[in-house]
Symmetry: C2
Subunit: 712 residues, 2 copies
């Protein structure tokens, strides 16, 4: 061995000495786990307390490991874990949290970091879930409560199996600033980590396994899927009552009202105590509202004022830094939980408050504790940042679970582990297009997202926003600042009412979609990329050939990020203010107009001009949509409602209608049914619908059933 080669050998040895031997264990059917190095005691699953939905996972069945194991590598360098997963040429990636502007993630560089969305998909978002899904039908999840760096097919290793071709920029016009990369690489700033791989065979299967492994999706109470209005910050009890009355009188549906900071005696920092000038008798007020069919949701953030009666008890269990001068409870400690959530239970939940909007648990950096913050449990500022949203969701949900009463609220931060939490994410940002892209990505991130309406510059914009709000997990107007009502733009008030009414009529459809989220892991709102028969590759386009302005000749990716699936049957393709027509990409198979049942297309790009009143929605061939009569409030526990079952297209139709009491957790003890609805054609071509009988001893909320053959 010459001296040079000997030296080379030493270097190679140094390079590979810390490579980890990865052992993959199937911990649930189709769910594979590897332990790299020495994982930390605290991680996303531990913070959230998520436990696998084993029944759902077992129903999906076992599956082979979806990758070549030797193509995956892990090493510990510089006290951190470096991970590498392979990529194939035609592979596309989705996920990496709640992104707002991009759906296709291959080529991205991100640092997954809980934060508000700051205007750019860079990993900082309300739910930076360290989970990605491949178009090749598998998923990868890194269970670390740390800021994880992701190179999603951007970095190129010298030892790459499929290296990019070297080109001379001086003379080769095909030179590109971003050479081909055949790997996802991740840096986890911890001495060890648990990594999970989810089998397919489809991308949807991987998403389902991820969701089920995290406990399955939330099943909201029925009222949670009704309409909700948030009132101005300093509203009084009387003003809230008047608001509810106005909805009733004008015939607009309403299920819950959100009170903003003014319900508290002090807010920013918060006391979590009622302001007695605005709410002199909270218990009576909450009761009176509930009797009118209106529940109450309370805004808060968890940064506690020195004016709170329990402040001194809490103080030892709070972090080193304040947020808006409020102390930050260390919710991993029972003492902090008992104090804060005990106050919420006693003062609010026990008198009938239905849920919370937990604000500002995300960021941004200028408001939150810094990374140099310490917490009495020993958690770092970083770990607390990545999981604070999980902790507040988990322990507020627990209050309700212990009372056998479902809740459904709002939160501004989540993460992996939060799939089953009864919370919907929202933001201060207000770009309508990006809100829809976030809705698409929520289905990859294990979270729910509402494209809330607050106010609008024009009646047109208001209507366009409300059209998407009613096709989302929470149909909400957030008027904390503006005081906007659904009827605030008189030119479109009738159309808004029609949309809100449609939301209510579709409640059986929405409720069953959420039941599938819970039991089967299928996100109720999700990307068209998870739809069978859909395929699209984002195209790179050179938009600026001026090298002074674009010195690396960067091309821009053209994506489809403005249409989504709502439940199994519906493809929603919103229009935005200023648009009168748009393109819709229909997956393979026949699709029909939601409103008329008319044939729309099959595996093609159509251009539609729906008019201002309509949001384009298309229904998959053979779909069944159960509808209830227009109602101003969700059916109460035990209340029966008639069903109008709509059928679209030509193929035989099959549907599973979910039913339970709609308000409690008795479904966890088997108190629910799935009723089979089928539509077939007899020999004469006549359509025939059947619904299976209710099961004795189980909840049954179905009254009379009628059938509607759409487009016939």
């Amino acid at each position: 061995m010459t001296k040079r080669y000997y030296f080379l050998f030493i270097l190679l040895f140094a390079f590979t000495a810390n490579a980890q031997n990865i052992q993959w264990t199937q911990v649930q059917p189709g769910v594979w786990k590897a332990v790299i190095g020495k994982p930390e005691a605290y991680d996303l699953l531990k913070a959230s307390g998520a436990t696998p939905a084993t029944t759902g996972l077992q129903q999906m069945g076992k599956a082979d490991f979806p990758l070549q194991q030797q193509d995956i590598s892990a090493r510990i360098v510089d006290g951190k874990v470096y991970l590498r997963f392979p990529l194939q040429k035609e592979e596309q990636l989705f996920g990496f949290g709640l992104n707002f502007q991009t759906v296709y993630q291959r080529g991205k560089i991100l640092q997954l970091h809980v934060d508000h969305f700051g205007g750019k998909d860079n990993g900082r978002t309300h739910a930076p879930t360290p989970f990605y899904v491949s178009s090749k039908g598998y998923g990868v999840f890194v269970n670390a409560a740390r800021y994880i760096n992701v190179y999603a097919g951007s970095a190129v290793r010298k030892d790459s199996k499929n290296p990019p071709v070297e080109k001379d920029r001086n003379t080769d016009k095909s030179w590109a600033s971003r050479p081909y990369s055949d790997a996802v690489e991740m840096l986890v700033p911890a001495g060890g980590v648990e990594v999970y791989v989810f089998s397919g065979p489809t991308a949807m299967d991987a998403v389902r396994r991820f969701n089920l492994f995290n406990g399955g999706g939330v099943l909201p109470p029925r009222w949670g899927l009704g309409f909700t209005q948030r009132v101005k910050t300093l509203y009084t009890a009387d003003e809230v009552k008047a608001e509810a009355k106005a909805f009733e009188e004008k015939g607009f549906p309403l299920d819950f009202i959100g009170l903003e900071p003014g319900w508290q005696s002090k807010a920013y920092p918060c006391t979590l105590e009622w302001d007695k000038t605005r709410y002199p008798d909270p218990a009576a007020f909450v009761k009176e509202m509930k009797e009118k069919g209106i529940r109450l949701n309370l805004w808060t953030n968890p940064y506690i004022s020195s004016a709170a009666s329990y402040y001194k008890d809490l103080l030892p269990y709070t972090g080193s830094h304040t947020v808006w001068t409020g102390v930050v409870p260390d919710f991993t400690l029972p003492q902090a939980r008992n104090t804060v959530f005990g106050q919420m239970k006693k003062s609010q939940v026990d008198i009938g408050v239905s849920g919370y909007k937990i604000d500002e648990v995300d960021g941004y950096d200028h408001y939150l504790w810094p990374d140099v913050a310490t917490f009495p449990s020993g958690l770092s500022g970083e770990q607390m940042r990545q999981t604070f949203g999980l902790l507040v969701q988990r322990y507020t949900a627990d209050i309700y679970h212990q009372k056998n009463q479902r809740t459904y609220g709002l939160v501004r931060a989540s993460n992996a582990g939060g799939v089953s939490m009864p919370y919907v994410i929202y933001d201060d940002y207000y770009n309508h297009e990006d809100f829809i892209t976030a809705l698409i990505n929520s289905g990859f991130a294990g979270v729910l997202w509402t494209p809330e309406a607050r106010a609008s510059k024009t009646a047109e914009e208001w209507l366009r926003r409300m059209q998407t709000v009613v096709f989302s997990p929470m149909a909400m107007i957030n008027a904390w600042s503006s005081g906007t009502k659904p009827w605030s733009y008189p030119e479109v008030a009738d159309q808004i009412k029609a949309m809100a009414t449609l939301r209510m009529q579709m409640m059986p459809y929405w409720y069953s979609a959420f039941a599938r989220y819970h039991f089967e892991g299928i996100p109720p709102f999700r990307s068209i990329n998870l739809e069978e028969g859909f395929s699209y590759e984002p195209k790179k386009e050179s938009v600026n050939k001026n090298l002074e302005e674009n010195p690396y000749a960067e091309a821009v990716s053209k994506e489809i990020k403005d249409q989504y699936m709502a439940g199994d049957a519906l493809l929603v393709a919103p229009l935005f203010a200023g648009q009168t027509s748009r393109k819709v990409v229909l997956p393979k198979g026949k699709w029909y107009d939601f409103y008329t049942g008319a044939y729309a297309g099959n595996g093609e790009v159509i251009t539609v001009t729906p008019g201002l009143d309509k949001i384009p929605v298309y229904v998959k061939d053979g779909s069944i949509i159960p509808m209830m009569p227009p109602m101003l409030h969700a059916p109460k526990k035990g209340e029966k409602v008639d069903l109008e079952i709509r059928y679209y297209g030509e193929k035989p139709g099959q549907y599973k209608l979910y039913d339970d009491d709609g308000e409690t957790f008795d479904y966890e003890k088997g108190q629910y049914t799935w009723r089979d609805i089928t539509v077939t054609k007899d020999n004469n071509g006549q359509l025939k619908g059947t619904i299976s009988a209710p099961v004795t001893g189980k909840p049954n909320t179905v009254g009379n059933v009628t059938w509607k053959w759409m487009g016939k």
Copy 2:
């Protein structure tokens, strides 16, 4: 002790157990060092090889520790160093690297990270120097080759000595989203770190001590301060000769020409070998150009093509990842250095090439190696990212130093430790206002910056840009893409020529200013905030009171970031395209118009309407500006030039004129002089100027001396 208090005690103990006892040692006069934990073997000073300029430091003298030591804390948490420094109420902070949009840094949150400037001052920049200066007259430097998180007076600790007042946002209109903070906190992601504190008494003193501790500023060759033009990428030797000829014929000064990627046989990735089709005889070409008074500067980036003749030798000493398919030399290894810099020496420096433009050693992430990259020396991707610019500067500078020949080039990344490097930073970004703010901040970051001109939309913009280029460390047109010449906008060609000529005439002034940078640590281009008699506090203004759009009622800071000092005498206040007049804040003391000597003001805000031809420049009372005759090329070694010494104002004038051979490092062996120039008024009010005699045996380039009493 009750159980509760016992528990509290345990918690407090856990909180403080890892607090570090900080020992401050005066390692140089007025320079204090503390070692926290176990610092890493590799840091910014080691990467750069910077050694203190002890003579300059000794001349400044000893000084007390500028802070209360007990107000500084350090602790090791989560394997990282958490630092805390105090802030007083009226204290302002400057520095934290080459920021582009803000000068006042108090309240900022940054992650110091080598990168190109991405449009926002967030810590990612070409020179994220971990050094800040306080208006109270001290500086702090964290010597870590890591991504350092900085909370520059943003975070609030529970145990703060000066906590912000708690307010109720519900009712208190004075509530602010960013409560008062009395500390700078920093997170250094390493198990230990060296920290330095620089004494004042003034902020300028702290800057000087920092610069001198880093070796003192660069002293460029005289030709480096002349005019430079960069030609189009694929120019041939003949085209370059024609370019030089055109400058000569049109009477535009020119000292060096920059060749862009086309001089290499392949570029992106690079060979560092001449392209023999465009440059058939490099040695003859370089020699011929030099004889015409034109030096050559060569573009490169250090990502090496497999087509390079030395590729196989280099390969074992390169990182795990490629950049544009080129390998990344690990320049901390002598083998990599010998190969790459050996090639540059042999092929280019030895035939007379005067310097380099070293591109793309900054970022951005999509082009550079990822943080999961490994290097054969064992350095992490992060450490290499923070220091790669330092390494290429250091070892290319060494080639020239070994030849006793000064160089002056361009680089796109630096850091602390790089103060004495013969390089100026540039960027692809092109906002003129931000270029000036960067120029201001360069003086706090231990780097030089050029607001290069490339092309412009209008003749007006071109002239405005060129007016600032000539008042900067490098008077450059970077026409790699556009091919723009100084005379490309005929309407303003005469004015441009006048500006370029002025640049040459001022060379004695520039050269002495750089000598003060080198020997005394005074940045040649710097913030007005370092000027005695200047005071300004940025004002917070609520610009958007719409809570829907600005939910936290964030106020915007109004700064002064568009005027700067050029040497000790000149206040430069540029106009930007579209402006016809501007405000100028004059520090206390009398100021005079640079062009006429007319009195301009004293400690006041003046509004000036200088016309298109002029860039407003003001001269401090009693200032002396040495000028030379208009020349097309810088004086050669040994060449004598006449001096016209201009005097402004009323106060007695004192000036130190620096002189040496202008090309070699003989000044390091004492081959230089400072000649005293004084202006006094005799009893009759007659001005009288004197210049001290040249020193025998030392270089003397001064020919005839004439005096000009400006404004008299």
